[in-house]
């Protein structure tokens, strides 16, 4: 009790210094939390991918297409429950700043395969019925003020020309991890138009999405599909949705690594700053530690006082940093929604923040604790004058 009282009073003995240290730790923990959330977001697609879905793409690269004729062959592979297909469209709405993901898909099978995109039944029917129809996620519709029945014109980058779509539905995600900033329309509409304008690019699709009857059969089904098209002009690579998403993540691994390094550097810097504060504090109080030792208090008491103060400072800063992370994440989500549509701070990030704050407090106290605990009393008492 006495130790806690002494630690609490020592923490705010130099109010400005304590305030600056706590602010420093809070800012560092805030930055650390946001960076860790960013790293977590990179893996969001991986985490939200289904175990019962496979993706088949061209074995050479995702930029090469596959014949649409593969669809029926894939459907007959044992273990395959449903097959859908689609292509990255890469359309531009008015200008490049308005970027969002746009895909041409086979609507009926796609909506069956991805129940996480929730549409009212009437809108779903209207979308399937209208070959020029499109569905958009709610935040995307809100961003551009689109309503059901509006015409949206996208400029094609992969498929040349201007493409007019009628918004037939506005979907929302079944859970938080669903990317609601996407634009889907009919693959047939694109294909029919391309057949007239660029016939050599017709009847091709970017990838197949396969629903499995049993997720345990993923490896067998993948091998069977790829075996079907071996030695063909367009060999396939079939993998689980998770592996497919991981492929995207690994393309940007250097960025993730850089962000991770920066997040740890932030902690390292604040550790040095806090260690400096604690070293100054301990140096100023050497005579007090010597007095306590003279009165019979042991090295462990002195160590407890210094370590406790360091931990209290860093945990106070850590707690403030964690509290600030939530509004900061909400701000990032709203201000930079184009890039970070789901900027949610996970419980895991909060635990990491707490651990980081505790480590900062502990490491920062090592040298001052050792110094305070091992000071010779006679030498320490001389420091008072």
């Amino acid at each position: 009790m006495f130790m806690l009282r002494l630690i609490a009073r020592n923490v705010f003995r130099h109010k400005l210094r304590a305030l600056l240290t706590i602010t420093g730790v809070a800012v560092a923990i805030l930055a650390f939390g946001l960076l860790r959330t960013l790293v977590g977001l990179w893996y969001l697609g991986v985490e939200s991918s289904s175990a019962s879905r496979l993706i088949t793409r061209n074995a050479i690269s995702l930029v090469f297409f596959l014949p649409i004729s593969y669809k029926d062959k894939i459907r007959h592979v044992p273990g395959v429950k449903i097959v859908s297909y689609g292509s990255w469209f890469g359309g531009i709405y008015i200008n490049e700043k308005n970027f969002f993901a746009s895909f041409s898909v086979e609507p009926t099978s796609y909506l069956q395969l991805y129940p996480e995109f929730v549409l009212p039944p009437d809108q779903q029917k209207a979308f399937i019925r209208d070959r020029k129809g499109a569905v958009v996620g709610r935040p995307l519709a809100e961003r551009f003020g689109w309503k059901v029945g509006d015409t949206v014109i996208l400029k094609g980058t992969i498929y040349p020309g201007e493409w007019a779509f009628t918004v037939r539905g506005i979907f929302h995600g079944a859970h938080k991890n669903v990317d609601e900033r996407q634009f889907f329309f009919h693959w047939d509409y694109v294909n029919e138009t391309i057949r007239r304008t660029v016939p050599r690019r017709a009847d091709l699709t970017g990838f197949y999405m396969i629903g499995l009857a049993n997720p345990d059969q993923a490896a067998t089904v993948s091998a069977a599909i790829d075996g079907l098209f071996k030695n063909s002009l367009a060999e396939t690579l079939t993998e689980t949705e998770r592996a497919f998403q991981m492929g995207f993540v690994s393309m940007t691994e250097a960025i993730i690594t850089a962000i991770e390094i920066v997040s740890y550097m932030v902690i390292l810097i604040i550790m040095v700053v806090t260690a400096n504060t604690m070293a100054m504090t301990a140096r100023e109080r050497i005579a007090e530690y010597a007095t306590l030792k003279a009165l019979g208090f042991g090295a462990r008491h002195i160590a407890g006082i210094i370590w406790g103060e360091s931990l209290a400072l860093s945990l106070a800063g850590g707690a403030i940093g964690i509290i600030l992370t939530f509004p900061a994440a909400r701000w990032v989500e709203s201000a930079l929604s184009q890039f970070f549509p789901f900027f949610h701070v996970s419980a895991h990030t909060v635990y990491l923040d707490l651990a980081a704050a505790a480590i900062v407090g502990t490491v920062a106290a090592i040298f001052p604790t050792w110094r305070g605990a091992t000071i010779r009393i006679a030498e320490g008492l001389r420091r008072i004058a």
Binding site: E288, L295, G296, G298, I377, A378
Partner: protein
């Protein structure tokens, strides 16, 4: 005529040197001294004569290179650091030149400090502290922090802290060195009272001849040698 009293501190052939690089600078040379129970001893001498070092050795906060020191029949030179800390907590009361109070603790809490190492209950500790503060006439200032007290009052709090465990010896290193004349008289009067009324053994280092006058015995140290003794 005083009765012959039992020896409470027996110092035998104490030698101490400080190292400055490869060179050993002698501070105490072959000191032998007996201090009787209930004695008020003043150690005088010029700066660097070794009087504070000798006081620190008696109080168990420094160690001699050679020789032995027995306090209350126990050879403290044989104790480990942890044993010595426990021994100090029970047997030594400290009064320092600059009071050495903990600034973030009140007068009450500062006096209570040595009792935290005992098995006394909170209620018992409060009773002891109130008695000690009453002794130094500072009971009404119990909730004041050191910064809210004058130098003399701080030293009186330090005296209360020194006597709170009813120690075997009280060591005082220049207890009036930082005080004005009135406060110094006050503090010295209090120490004399502790010695007379409560029979406390006090060993005091001082430069001040007026402070030394309060002692029964004055011993001079010069260049580490105890060469003048008069009572």
């Amino acid at each position: 005529m005083e009765n012959r009293r039992e020896t409470i501190v027996a110092i035998r052939n104490i030698t101490k040197a400080y190292r400055r690089g490869a060179q050993a600078v002698p501070v105490l040379e072959n000191i032998t001294l007996d201090i009787a129970d209930g004695e008020f001893l003043a150690l005088m001498g010029p700066s660097g004569s070794g009087k504070s070092t000798l006081l620190n050795i008696i109080a168990g906060i420094d160690r001699a290179d050679e020789g032995s020191i027995t306090v209350g029949g126990l050879d403290i030179s044989l104790l480990s650091e942890a044993e010595l800390a426990r021994w100090r907590a029970i047997n030594v009361g400290f009064i320092f030149q600059f009071y050495n109070l903990i600034p973030v603790l009140t007068a009450f809490e500062n006096v209570e400090l040595p009792l935290l190492l005992t098995a006394l209950s909170r209620k018992e500790r409060r009773k002891h502290v109130e008695t000690a503060l009453a002794l130094v006439n500072l009971l009404d200032r119990r909730e004041h922090y050191p910064s809210q007290l004058s130098g003399g009052e701080q030293q009186r709090v330090a005296i209360a802290r020194a006597v709170i465990t009813d120690p075997t010896i009280i060591v005082a290193d220049e207890p009036t060195g930082d005080l004005d004349r009135v406060s110094a008289e006050d503090v010295l009067g209090l120490m004399a009272r502790l010695n007379k009324e409560f029979g406390k053994t006090i060993i005091m280092v001082t430069h001040d001849p007026r402070a030394a006058e309060k002692a029964h015995v004055v011993k001079h140290l010069e260049k580490g040698i105890l060469n003048h003794v008069h009572a």
